[in-house]
Symmetry: C2
Subunit: 721 residues, 2 copies
């Protein structure tokens, strides 16, 4: 059996798991009529939003697909279309499961905590496995078609396969940035707007059915935290595994074990799908009834089982684990001849300097990085540790000190993940050069099925709580869904740290692909990527600026859209006093429709920033200082985006999570509890953290990669033109 076929079978396994489990979830009791009515409203709103979002994206997508076809040929265009459609499908299915699981989780929570947990987690696991499975299938089947059926070869001068894989990643990225940002704006505009006008102005509790924005708020959980996140992780998966394969093809074109090397990233992904599926069955409450503990049990089982699984597939792909990957090969030499711009040391490590065992250790490094980032994120966002408690304590002296402390924590929270990533880069590079870094990133993403499962569980429980409140279920039910939801806050933060951490590594791989490609396409140009070249510094500065501008646009968009929500709700209250009295029903659909339009309108400009910036910078610098400085500045721009974006994204996602849980910690009765002055200050911090952690921060991840991919496509287009 062909190695790629094995990966395809394992990918299909994920789809089968999703199918079977979704039947289980949908088969569960859906609660009372009132609950179903509320759930139907959420479902309707979410579908209406996604429909409009996808229609808008489709217009952009068709234009881009035509451009790709013109500049890079029809096969790349097909890759782009597959990537974009499957990215959308991942989000769409995830959302559809989520909006059906929410009411069933509320119903199950009537029975007990374990029942609620099982249902919500299974719903999350469906999304998780589908994201990982579809992503793996997209690359594996496309690759299989290109190499086995269409007869293109990797490692020759024919660039079809490489270009097609890059185009596939581009499709996934483009959809994902729209979905992340549009969903992020929707969810936070609805959330902030509903809170401002409901809690603050009207004095009614969260999730009160009299608030016209309450359905929009619940819709937001699904389109932002579920569909947006799923598209994002699908993209991260495709880009990381794709970039590893592209780099392999560029660096080792023609090496003896090339076939195995190309298939290995796919096999690692496949192996971890199996271990992730097994892990899901270990998510069960222990004697301590710790929900977080149950989650970790599942993750730990997956991680530990992945060690032998990855060893096995590496051996399967490469044979002798200790034999060096042969360097004495025409393809490799050919690449060297066109001026592969590696440093001498890098070259040494690439040329025959690594074995299968080295790649295995790099994969282990990826697992270790994942574990460490989860642990660090939990430290910074968990209620039992210093950071969150310091924010809670600073709330006692007011809104200002809460925000100051939150900002300080958000900046501090960048330190440990950066040290972990830096250490990872050094060790992986020492082991196996650039390709070692690529394997570290691939192994990180291989666990995506499990990580997404932990994350996608969040919006389900969040919604379940809302439904319990609106349907007037017993207080014990709400207590259970609240307990489930609190854990969701942490797992959501964890996924974002994981995604941005892996993005840092993946972007380095993409940058390596960029420089290698450059040497291939323009062997006559002596591009100076040295920090001593001022155009490199110009590129770094402009690159670092992009996440700031992007973040600013995202934050402002939330503010503007939330303002629209406030006006609409005020208007509904004014025109129909019966709403506040509870005698007449607010027009939920009108608010949903309004947020939908606002979010779609606001997502366009910031999303195009990372698409257009690389092209503009290349052409402007080329016009001013020649093509080789244009390429140098563009390359530096790619790294500048990473350097600037990594810190901004880490600080925003961790800080936001810490603010959120500091509020929860106070609501648990500390520092005066609910309704105290400290609580009011903590609510302010939480509001600030909302667009930080759910709009601007996470959208930096696809933004970093889209900038890199556009640069690769620009190179290919320039070479073709």
């Amino acid at each position: 059996m062909n190695l790629v076929t094995i990966a395809i079978v394992l990918g299909l396994l994920a789809v089968v798991y999703g199918f079977v489990t979704s039947r289980q979830v949908l088969g569960a009791a859906a609660g009372s009529e009132k609950m179903q009515e509320i759930a139907a409203a959420i479902q309707e709103g979410a579908q209406a939003y996604l429909k409009r979002q996808y229609t808008t994206i489709a217009i952009v997508g068709v234009i881009v697909a035509v451009l790709v076809a013109v500049f890079l040929g029809p096969i790349s265009a097909i890759g782009f279309v597959i990537g974009s459609i499957l990215s959308g499908v991942a989000g769409f299915i995830g959302m559809n499961i989520s909006v059906r699981a929410n009411v069933r989780t509320a119903a199950a929570a009537q029975t007990g905590l374990q029942e609620g947990l099982t249902l919500a987690f299974r719903a999350g696991a469906i999304t998780g496995m589908l994201v990982a499975g579809l992503a793996l299938l997209a690359i594996a089947i496309f690759y299989y078609y290109l190499t086995e059926l269409a007869g293109f070869t990797v490692g020759s001068d024919d660039r079809t396969v490489v270009d097609a894989l890059v185009a596939l990643a581009f499709g996934a990225s483009l959809i994902s940035i729209f979905a992340r940002l549009g969903g992020g704006i929707f969810t936070k505009a609805a959330d902030v707007g509903a809170d401002l006008v409901g809690k603050v102005e009207a004095g009614i509790p969260e999730d009160d059915p009299r608030n016209p924005a309450v359905i929009a708020d619940n819709v937001g959980d699904n389109v932002g935290d579920c569909a947006g996140m799923a598209a994002d992780l699908f993209e991260t998966y495709v880009v990381t595994v794709g970039a590893t394969m592209v780099l392999t093809a560029l660096l080792f074109g023609g090496v003896a074990k090339l076939e195995g090397l190309m298939a290995l990233p796919l096999l690692i992904g496949g192996a971890c799908i199996v271990t992730s599926i097994i892990g899901t069955y270990f998510v069960r409450l222990g004697a301590k009834q710790s929900i977080m503990g149950a989650m970790y049990k599942g993750f730990l089982v997956t991680a530990v089982l992945s060690i032998p699984a990855i060893f096995f597939v590496t051996q399967l792909a490469l044979g002798d684990m200790n034999a060096p990957i042969q360097a004495s090969d025409a393809g490799l030499i050919a690449n060297v001849d066109v001026g592969m711009p590696l440093s001498e040391e890098g070259m040494a490590s690439q040329v025959g300097g690594f074995t299968g065992m080295d790649l295995f250790w790099c994969s282990m490094l990826g697992l270790a990085i994942t574990g460490l980032i989860i642990w660090i994120t939990e430290y910074y966002t968990g209620t039992q540790f210093r950071p969150v408690r310091s924010i809670a304590k600073s709330s006692e002296t007011g809104h200002g000190t809460n925000v100051i402390q939150g900002l300080a924590i958000s900046m501090e929270a960048t330190a440990l993940p950066t040290l972990v990533i830096v250490t990872g880069i050094i060790i992986a590079y020492q082991l196996a050069g650039l390709i070692g870094i690529a394997y570290g990133a691939t192994a990180m993403l291989a666990l995506a099925g499990m990580v997404v499962a932990l994350d996608a569980y969040g919006p389900v429980t969040d919604n379940a709580g809302g439904i319990a409140e609106m349907a007037g279920l017993d207080d014990t039910v709400r207590a259970r869904t609240d307990a489930l939801d609190a854990v969701g806050n942490t797992t959501k933060a964890v996924t974002k740290g994981y995604a941005i951490g892996s993005a840092g590594l993946a972007a380095l791989v993409l940058f390596a692909a960029y420089t290698t490609d450059l040497a291939h396409f323009f062997p006559e140009l002596d591009v100076d990527f040295s920090l001593e070249n001022p155009y490199v510094i110009v590129g770094l500065l402009l690159g670092a600026l992009l996440p700031y501008l992007f973040g600013s646009m995202g934050m402002t968009a939330v503010g503007r859209a939330a303002g629209d929500v406030v006006k609409d709700v005020r208007d509904q209250f004014a025109n129909d006093p019966g709403i506040m009295l509870g005698t007449s029903k607010p027009n939920y659909a009108r608010t949903v429709d309004l947020v939908t339009k606002a979010a779609i309108k606001e997502m366009i400009v910031p999303s195009l920033l990372p698409v257009l910036a690389p092209i503009v910078v290349y052409y402007v610098i080329t016009a001013v200082a020649g093509q080789q400085n244009g390429f140098a500045a563009l390359g530096a721009l790619l790294l500048g985006v990473i350097v600037g974006g990594l810190f901004l994204a880490l600080s925003m996602t961790s800080g936001g999570g810490a603010w959120d849980n500091a509020k929860k910690y106070i609501e648990d009765g500390n520092h005066g509890g609910k309704g105290s002055e400290a609580h009011k200050a903590a609510v302010t911090g939480d509001t600030v953290g909302d667009p930080y952690k759910d709009t601007a921060g996470p959208a930096v991840n696809p933004m970093i990669k889209i900038t890199n991919i556009v640069a690769l496509l620009l190179l290919a287009a320039l070479a073709a033109g």
Copy 2:
């Protein structure tokens, strides 16, 4: 007359101006006995703080001086001591003028707005001229001594002059980071603490004499905004002009016009002292009574007069403005031979590629950048423009939306300055290579006398307002000082934008000195600064992390110290109920003493971060991956600090200024005016902005440079060892 002597004479002119003007200021009426009593308390507190700060710094300074003497020799140690003492002197004199001018400004404001403006601005101008004059004298006299009296030559293999100039800059930087951070923590801890317990808890107005922290708050304006800022700008001046001379010596050692080239930065500084002094006499209210307009008139006169002045001194130093700086020179060739690591283009531009005219245009570029940054900062912090108004408007919907919009604006505010700096780099480099960038930065700093004058005026008026309030002067007096103070908020923000913008350019010059030095000291090492070297990426990431960690520490320190103030004031209120009744006087000195101790304690660790980080990174990476990668990572760390720090500092200083003026805009009667819900939200934003703009943000500027200078010293020490 020797060219350097001319610069020394012009520097002395600034000191004479300071002396004469301070006699005028001190000769003005000092107001009623009550006013003098309050002023004396502020004066006493400020002196006590500075005394303790300088004692602490002296301990660190002596240790470092000994280390410098051991590793780099006694002459460098003398340079270090001169730099550090004069940096302290600049701050000390500035503070001493400021604490005497405050009460006189309050007294003068009893007569009229113009009288108050004249007195406050003159006080600022004294500080401004002394900062620029002392900085110029420090370099010029030391350089004159070394080359004319001690007989060392520049451009030969003897490194004494270069090392001594770097050590001088190090002394200035080390003091400045302590002064900036210590003063910044003091001023904001006192401010935030006083507000929290006074305005919020006790419900008494700002500057109410019953608040025990009120004197500490006023002391803070002097030790932070005046002494800290003066030390910072002294440092920026010395480092920028010094780095230009060092780079000249390293790149053009032996060129025919070397003497003129070395003296030119000093002459540009001297010429602009004259134009700045002239400019101060144009700061007068026009028909429109616009205070900002009066300030700009003075600045504009200085800037316009600087054009012919710089042209004149350039011609004086280099002779024929259109003759190329000869490249056919042994020294230059020698440098090339040791492997001067310039790109081919850079080399071409250095070797005979520029004329005096080119340097003149680069200087003009520096003036243009200064003007543009002032204009951009005013746009982002002025009450008449969109950014501040958008924050004011968002205050209507609460604390959270105010902070969200403020953060969005702070991120957006990085874009235009970055584009200006990037464009400046490109044009300067096209004109005259790296040395062109150095001249751009030098011309920016040459205007420091005028810019500091505009800034140092701020704390004087701030104090004058406080004294007017505490002494119970007529409301018209307070109205006048408030009008003067509002302008001070903008000019303070402008100086910070200017300092950080120039730091970006100066740091590039220092980085060029680092790479040139590296090639000189370790000609056998082939250090790969290419972005393709993973250790370069590691360095960039670690460098970008430093400002985040540093900022986090600064913000937390303010929070902690402010908490101490709150406790002390609560304690005083509890133990003596007479304080609130106005029957007994609070113990102001106790609060001042407490903030002093807290600020000094908190400033140590963050200040040592940029000193130790380069050393640790070099040794760790060298241990892991060899010395050449150690140097590569260290170099990248230097640029990473700039890339990370520039954005953080720009966003913090602009955002803080915008929050502050959004509050003022509401207090002027917009969005409900004082006491409204919008005003409360705006107070929160202002509190958040305080440590942003006055502690963490501005301290990033010396931090960036200290990292670079430590790297240069490390190189020299390694070469000597």
